[in-house]
Symmetry: C2
C-alpha cells in the first residue's frame, strides 16, 4: 500500500477516537506537544539547518529562506501559539439550535469535528504545528502535505508532535506527514474523498489554484486579496491618510493589505494623500489624469488594477461617486476585504449592501481581516469562497454539524 493510502486509513481510524475526547483530554495532549517542542528544540533546529543548507545550495531567495528558517525564538512563538490555543473555547459539542416538531420529535443540532483535514502548504514549517494543533483542538485528524524544501524540518516537527501524542489520549496517528511530496501523490491526495473530508490549501495563488483545479475533495479556499480603499467626497483628511497608509504599509506582503486606492474626485485632500504616500516610500500607479498631474505618479496599466502587488506599490484611481467605486470593486475585487472612508451614512449603507466581499469596512483599515483581530483567537486561514466559511476562519470553521432527533416511536404518514 502507498504511504498516502496507509496514512489516510490510519487518520480515519484515529479521527473516530479523537472526535469523542473531552476538551480536557485534548488540551492535555496539546500541552504535552508544547512542552516537547521545547525540550526537542535541538533536534528541530538541526533538521531545519539541513533544509536551510539545501535551500542555499538551490539558490533560494532571502525571503524564501527566511520563511523556511526556524530559530529558538520562532519555536518559542510556535509553542506560545499552542498555549493560547489551549485557552480557547472548544467548539465541539456546542448546541447550535434545538426545536420540537408538532409530532413531538425533538431535534437539536450539535457541532462535531469534520473528521480528517488535508492541509496543503508551502515552505513554512511553522504551519506544520500551527495548523496541526488547530485541527486537533477541533477534534480533527490531519494529513500535512508541506513542501519538499521543508521536509527535514517537517519530519522532525511531526515526530516530536507524535511522540507527545503517544503519551496522551489523542492517538499519535491523528497527525501524519505525507513524506512523498511528488506531484502525482498530491493529485491522488486531492481526490481521496473516501478518507479526507476537506482540503485547506495555504500559500500563494498558484498552490491554491492547483488544489482547486485538481481536487474532488471539498476545498476551503483561502486566497488572494485585491483589497480596495474608497475615500469618499467628505472623508476626514487625517483618518483617510492614516487608514490608507496602514492598509498599504503595515504588512504589504499579506492578503488583507490594500492594493488599490479609489479617490472621490471632489475629495479636497488628494494632493496631500498622494504626497504622504510618496514620502512613506509607496510607489503610485494611477489613471491618466493623476499621472499627468503628479510627476512622481506612474501611469497604471490594466494589470495594476487586477493583481496583488504584495509590495509597497499602490494603484490609484479617481471615481465620480460611491457607485463608481462599487463598480470598480465589482470588476477587479477578489471578494476579500473592501473599505469605505466616509462621513456620509447613505453612501456607507450602499457600499455595505452592494460590495460583494467577505468583510466590508467603514472608517477602518482592511488589515483587521484576521482571526485574532476578529477575536477568534486563532486562524486556520481567510476564506475567500462563499460556502461553509467566509472571511477569517477560526476553530468553528473546521467543524460541521450533526442533527440529533429524539422520538417516541414517530413514523411518517
Amino acid at each position: 500500500m502507498s504511504e498516502l493510502l496507509e496514512k489516510a486509513k490510519k487518520l480515519k481510524t484515529a479521527s473516530k477516537a479523537l472526535a469523542i475526547l473531552t476538551t480536557e483530554e485534548k488540551n492535555e495532549a496539546l500541552a504535552k506537544m508544547a512542552d516537547r517542542l521545547l525540550t526537542e528544540k535541538e533536534l528541530i533546529l538541526t533538521e531545519n539547518a539541513k533544509d536551510i543548507q539545501a535551500g542555499k545550495e538551490n539558490g533560494f531567495s532571502p525571503s524564501l529562506l527566511d520563511r523556511l528558517l526556524l530559530t529558538e525564538e520562532r519555536i518559542e512563538q510556535i509553542v506560545e501559539g499552542i498555549r493560547q490555543l489551549i485557552e480557547l473555547q472548544d467548539p465541539i459539542g456546542e448546541t447550535i439550535e434545538a426545536w420540537e416538531r408538532p409530532n413531538g420529535l425533538q431535534i437539536h443540532t450539535v457541532r462535531v469535528p469534520l473528521g480528517v483535514i488535508g492541509m496543503v502548504y508551502e515552505a513554512r514549517p511553522n504551519v506544520t504545528v500551527d495548523a496541526g494543533s488547530l485541527c486537533l483542538k477541533a477534534g480533527n485528524a490531519v494529513l500535512l502535505r508541506g513542501s519538499t524544501s521543508a521536509l527535514h524540518s517537517n519530519k522532525a516537527l511531526v515526530k516530536v508532535m507524535r511522540d507527545a501524542l503517544a503519551e496522551s489520549k489523542i492517538p499519535a496517528d491523528a497527525v501524519q506527514l505525507l513524506e512523498d511530496t511528488s506531484r502525482e501523490t498530491a493529485s491522488q491526495m486531492f481526490k481521496l474523498n473516501q478518507y479526507l473530508d476537506v482540503l485547506i490549501p495555504r500559500g500563494g495563488a498558484g498552490l491554491i489554484q492547483s488544489v482547486i483545479q485538481n481536487a474532488t475533495v471539498p476545498v476551503l479556499e483561502t486566497g488572494v486579496g485585491n483589497c480596495h480603499i474608497f475615500i469618499d467626497e467628505n472623508a476626514q483628511k487625517q483618518m483617510a491618510v492614516d487608514i490608507t497608509i496602514n492598509a498599504k504599509l503595515h504588512r504589504p506582503s499579506v492578503c488583507n493589505a490594500a492594493e488599490t486606492l479609489l479617490l472621490h474626485e471632489n475629495w479636497p485632500y488628494i494632493p496631500e494623500i498622494l504626497h504622504s504616500l510618496k514620502e512613506k516610500g509607496v510607489e503610485l500607479r494611477a489613471d491618466e489624469e493623476l499621472a499627468a498631474q503628479y510627476p512622481f505618479v506612474k501611469k497604471a496599466v490594466e494589470e495594476d488594477w487586477q493583481n496583488e502587488f504584495l509590495a509597497p506599490i499602490l494603484a490609484v484611481k479617481l471615481v465620480k461617486s460611491v457607485k463608481g467605486a462599487i463598480q470598480h470593486i465589482d470588476e477587479y475585487g477578489t471578494k476579500h476585504s473592501e473599505a469605505i472612508i466616509s462621513e456620509n451614512g447613505e453612501n456607507v449603507r450602499l457600499f455595505f449592501q452592494a460590495v460583494d466581499a467577505a468583510v466590508v469596512y467603514h472608517n477602518a483599515s482592511t488589515r483587521f481581516t484576521d482571526g485574532e483581530q476578529f477575536g477568534y483567537g486563532a486562524e486556520i486561514g481567510i476564506s475567500t469562497q462563499k460556502l461553509h466559511a467566509r472571511g477569517p476562519m477560526g476553530l468553528r470553521a473546521i467543524t460541521t454539524t450533526k442533527a440529533i432527533v429524539q422520538g417516541t416511536g414517530q413514523i411518517r404518514s
Copy 2:
C-alpha cells in the same frame, strides 16, 4: 459568445440587482410567477406532451415517463409550492452575530445571497420551478441545467417564469435555462468559477459523481442514503416493527428510506419482525445465520450491504451489541441518516456520539430527514457532505455571510 457564457454573464449582473431587493419585492415576483404558471398551463402541457411523446419513442421506462410527466394537478402542486415559499421567512439580512472588539470596532455578520447557483438535474421538470423559485427567494440568480429529454417542458416553464419576472422587480435574467445540454457544455459549466458560486446536483448517484469529478466550482453534494436501523436488545417490539416498516416501505425509492436492518442477536422478537416484513412484501437478504433459519430469507452478498436498493428489499444482519452496529454503519454507511431503536440510554448516547451521519435518530423513522419534516418549509436537497450544510437544506443553505465592520478610524498597530 457561447450560450453558456452569455447567460452566465447576464446571471451575474442580474444577481447584483436581485441581492438587494426587499422581501416584499421578491414575494411579489414569486406571486406573479405562480399566477402565470396557472394561466399558461396549456402551453406548458402542450410542450410537456412533446417530451413525453419523444420519451415513448425512445423507449423510456414507465417510471421515467412518470417523472417527466406534467399534469394539470402537478402544475397546481408546483404553484402551491411557490405560494408556501412566499410565506417562508426570508433569511437574507438576518444578523447572525454581533460583537465589539476592545479597540472599539463593531463587527456584525449578516446573511447574504450566495450569488449565482447552478442547478444540475435530471428529467423532472418540476425541479425547474421548485429549485428556481427557492433560489430567487434567497436572493440568488439561477442557471438551470436540466436534461435533454425535458427540454421542451423546461423551455416552456422558464419562458413563463421569465415573463412573470419581467413584470416584477426581479430581473428576468435572474433565471436562465441552459438549452445546450451537451456533455461538453456541462463540463464547461462545472468549471465556470468566474460566474457561478455553487453547483447543486440533484439526481442519481451517477449525475452527482459526474458533477463532483468534473467541477472546480464548489459543489453542494446531495447524495446517496444507505440508511440503517439498529434494533437494540431491549427495544419495544411494536415500535421497532412500525419504525422499520415505515422506514423501508413508506417510500422505498428515496434516499432516507432504510436499506439495512441491524438486529441485536438477543432481541426477543426477531422472528416476529422478519415475518411482519415478509407479509408486507419486503424481500429480505440476511447473513448466513438468519438465511439458514428462515426459508423466506435469502443470503445477502457483499453488495447488499453497500448499495441502496431503492426498492422493497432489506438487508438484515445480526450484531452482538451497539458497538457491532456502529462498526457496520462505519463501514457501509453513507453519512445520511441512521437510527437506533432502544430503551437503553447509555447505548443511545454512544450511538449518537459515534455514528458519523448528517442525522441520527432514536426511536423514530429515518424518513424524517426532509426539509419540510424538519420544519424548514422547503428543501433544495439533502446534503451528505460536511462542508457548509449537512442534512436537509432549506433557504439558509443557499445563503452565505458578510462581515460588516464599523470603525472610527482604527488602524492596526
